[in-house]
Point group: C2
Chain length 245, copies 2
């Protein structure tokens, strides 16, 4: 891991960009910490790190400044400045075409779009975790949150260091990921935008129902895809504060 | 209104029992207040004030001690120490019989059970509000929370002093109350136990969908009817704190 920039922000949070091999990422750490800080992995930005920076940094800095958590994110394979990935580009184009034509999005498009991403991204997040947890001031319990819910499901199931996950409901979840969801047992909070134009509400409710976790909470809010209420930021932080001790 | 008892509790909260005509009730006020305290109406205890006292007082004292809210509740017509009400007793018996026989609960049973209660209870709550808001230290904005969701719907729609409502999803909502729900516009939080044995999950989701409020949030938690997680108490208080300024 190489830190490529370092900046102390006006809320006291330290923001460092890094690369891990070819993967760019950002780490935010709290102004001061007496014990190892809990670490929130802020799940893959599907539109790329640069484009989603304001949203990612807004969440991360709130967690760090208000709750003393560290937070980190890395670029998805094939996104942002990382090399194009032909198979996923093709699947994205197929998805776009189907949606623009108003056709139902077939399982084969969803599988082709999501499964390779999960297979490649999940090990990258786990390797990043190895490195992050060895840094001074880190090493506390780990939470995961964010989009591309299938990657969240895989990590919640396969990465035992993740103690709790705050997932954003999304459509386009392959059937095999429903099967994995049934085997997830860590505490979950799931955020659903009730009137999300691009999201099948019933599929999201079915996925919430499928999760095997004994403690799971759904927060459904009126409004469209980008209308997540501001108060959910604090609700997410409080969820992690309960579980990352 | 006559106060029939007064007790300063160990958290500093003042608990006063009162009667308003034939209706018994309880008022909890915060240890100290500089401005008029917001008032939370803690919705009708369907099993009676005495039986549900620990749960009611637990919520009210938390609101008063932690958030500086006042809180009050009154006995439902036909419940607790109030005179029996033959029509409602009959409807309750019909409901019990249908459920024990594993039969579907018909609309006529639901209507007979709920509609007379709504018609009689809602004006009582409004009259209680008149008296409470005239007390010294009260007079702030009003929130409503609690069970018998049809009474909550009626009050959310008909009582303009109620600025926000935190409702507990329940089955047995008459079709006419769905129509009223569509006309509700105040901010809502709705609590649903995902695995509630006595509650039709789809009906609860349909009701949440029906509410006309621009700001509405559903908190669905895994677990049965009595398994509402402890953290929802604070989530309710924070909802009111956002809206009762």
């Amino acid at each position: 891991m190489h830190f490529t920039s370092e900046q102390r922000l006006d809320d006291g949070v330290l923001e460092r960009e890094f690369t891990l091999g070819e993967i760019p990422g950002i780490l935010w750490t709290p102004p001061s910490a007496t014990a190892p800080a809990p670490l929130i992995l802020i799940g893959p930005p599907p539109l790329g790190l640069r484009k989603m920076y304001p949203r990612l940094a807004g969440r991360a800095r709130y967690y760090a400044a208000e709750y003393g958590f560290a937070a980190a994110t890395i670029e998805l394979p094939g996104s942002g400045d990382r090399p194009r990935w032909a198979a996923v580009e093709q699947a994205r184009a197929d998805l776009r075409r189907a949606m623009e034509a108003g056709e139902p999005v077939g399982d084969e498009i969803v599988d082709a779009l999501v499964l390779p991403l999960v297979e490649k991204a999940a090990p990258e997040w786990r390797a990043t975790l190895d490195v992050l947890l060895a840094l001074p001031g880190l090493g506390g319990p780990v939470g995961y949150e964010g989009g591309v819910i299938s990657i969240g499901i895989r990590l919640a199931l396969a990465e035992p260091r993740i103690a709790a996950a705050n997932l954003f409901a999304g459509s386009f979840v392959p059937a095999t990921m429903f099967e994995e969801a049934r085997r997830v047992t860590i505490p979950l909070q799931v955020l659903l935008q009730w009137d999300d134009e691009g999201n099948d509400r019933q599929a999201a409710l079915d996925l919430f129902d499928a999760f095997g976790s004994k403690e799971k909470t759904l927060h459904a809010n009126s409004g469209g895809h980008t209308g997540v209420p501001r108060f959910e930021l604090d609700a997410g932080a409080r969820f992690f504060a309960r579980h990352l001790k």
